[in-house]
Symmetry: C2
Subunit: 406 residues, 2 copies
Amino acid sequence: MKGNLVVGQSGGPTAVINNSLVGVIHEAMQHKDVDGIYGMLHGIVGVLEENFVDLRQESEETLQGLRHTPASALGTVRYKVTDEDYDRLIEVLQAYDIRYFFYIGGNDSMDTTHKIHLAAQKKGYELVAIGVPKTIDNDLVKTDHCPGYGSAARFVASAIRNSGWDTEAMGDSGPLKLMEIMGRNAGWLTASAALAKQQPKDPPHLIYLPERGRSLEQIVEDVEETYEKYGTCVIAVSEGFRDDEGREFGTLGDSFETDAFGHKRKGGVASTLTSALQQHLDMLPRFDKPGYLQRSFGELASPVDREEAYNVGRTAVRAALEGKMDQMVALVRQPGSEYEIDTALVDLDEVANKERLMPDEFINEEGNWVTQAFLDYARPLIGPPLPPYTRLEKHPVPERAKVKSS
Amino acid sequence: MKGNLVVGQSGGPTAVINNSLVGVIHEAMQHKDVDGIYGMLHGIVGVLEENFVDLRQESEETLQGLRHTPASALGTVRYKVTDEDYDRLIEVLQAYDIRYFFYIGGNDSMDTTHKIHLAAQKKGYELVAIGVPKTIDNDLVKTDHCPGYGSAARFVASAIRNSGWDTEAMGDSGPLKLMEIMGRNAGWLTASAALAKQQPKDPPHLIYLPERGRSLEQIVEDVEETYEKYGTCVIAVSEGFRDDEGREFGTLGDSFETDAFGHKRKGGVASTLTSALQQHLDMLPRFDKPGYLQRSFGELASPVDREEAYNVGRTAVRAALEGKMDQMVALVRQPGSEYEIDTALVDLDEVANKERLMPDEFINEEGNWVTQAFLDYARPLIGPPLPPYTRLEKHPVPERAKVKSS
């Protein structure tokens, strides 16, 4: 089918989402059925408002530059498409003779893509809509992992390692630290903090995931036990972490807002837990909240992630030109000891609005750390190992007893 | 003078403070007057409690590893030395035949080092005490800049660039962001955010320093003006930023604590300003608070900073062995277009407890940005330029009028 192509980016940006965009453009250029290659500005709102840019006019230098530029080059959006919007969307796509529609995003975006497919069918307009996965939350079903996750995981592991070594250096001047990590209901990104640890005494020491609730009393016990063992305690805690009664810690202390999709905006867990722990322990905990750095930190993008993000973009276009539609590109890990990834296609309606939480086999029994199976899963995604850090061996100088007692 | 040497690290760690430690050790090994090379664990408390380690027993491999390891390898401390402590300190140093004392730290540590010199003199104990500068705040007087600052500045520039490009991509789904940056009363680190900007539209757009107060009304005007011009507004704001009546924004909304030195622990400015701006603007601002990452982020350490931190350590030992005492090593920028740094020695009592704020010529008239003179000052300190980021050229696709109006 001959016609124009449009591609858009949606939801939270990532450090590598532009690779998927460039993958789409590069592959589209290879197919003579594709005439115009358009970008929608700020996702689906760009279609509604007819804000399209001509991506064929971009230089190869720009495209190569984008492969190392974080955030969404076309702009992104958080906008819940209404039923009326779908009529308008098809009308616009039709007017611009757009026959290929690619949307790079998470589960909300997969839902939008699926509904655009349905709306086009209903109107009898021939349109191929394909979803390109992206989310640092890693919570899309039917794919081994999501482009964007590996880079965010690399940043999180690095952030908690750096801040955790700082905490260790502080000793009793500040031995306890929490780091609050993104991920609505899924603990994937928080769990990646475990990749910072090389030796048992290395930070982090505890990982609290939304998949497991824990009472404040248990948390205090965890912290005391860790402090006794290592003289320090560094905790990775998910923004969506709950107590044993299922109440989100982040909502216990602070008011919270709701985004356009009805998701609660969480963010108070580290500050709530810091206050609570201070009341139960004889020390003042510090906390870090790396916030938007988790999804944008270009310097720590994972090379593996960058390549995979590019490949899912290319694969989406190839699939569309082969006649596939209403599907999402998925990543499939090949069996064997070497990390190897293939792509596959899965039905959009099996992905749309679903959420993949961490499975039980990735979380330890106590619910405060990850398993070896998770480490094996996550390690290849962040690229090369973090650069090694070194401790002094600390050979003691013999004491001069005469002054020791004074 | 023959005898043992001791070195310690104090105050907040940095990404390169271990380079100063290794510099001291490497240089000390060159001098046959130096017998034992000891490290005090957790700064001056390590002397009071006689917790010394034998640094001669560390391998060269460990020392080289430390040159790329952030945080304080000997451990650090926040402890205000009392008058009684000084007697005990000299007593311990004497018992261990320590004749050379090196303290790596900021202005509090320079004060401690100077007082140890005085206490030794008073007791008639021959001791050479030398201060080795370190602080991400860059607020020590009598030195062009402080080791630790360049690396923190590189991280801050990178952090606000990454998070700021993310904000730009969000468009009207989230066009306004604040980033809260460390630095008690001095704006040096906040100002370094300006190094993220290559083109006028690049983030950040506004910089608010503790050296200049600004009313909420003025801030709202700044934000509106920027948003109208660029469709986005990214602000670097110092934790110590004040309003036009001198009240710290960070203390207006939140309670705050005091550390052992009587410094207020600030931290609420971004959250206070976010709430305040939300009330005055029709948009919800986001904020980031990179916290301890600013002083610990090993992957973004500046190579220039690393080298200079190492050199001040070496210089301190050379000076001590040449008979200098009661001094701090300072960095002196050489005149000329190429960046070139030399070292000098300055009296500790001229540095102790003093604070260097940003001079007027580094801040613009409006008090919401830095001058070219500051950029010229700061740019060489962060090492090579940040890797380039790329924008699409965004050639518009001609509108199809028939659907535009629907």
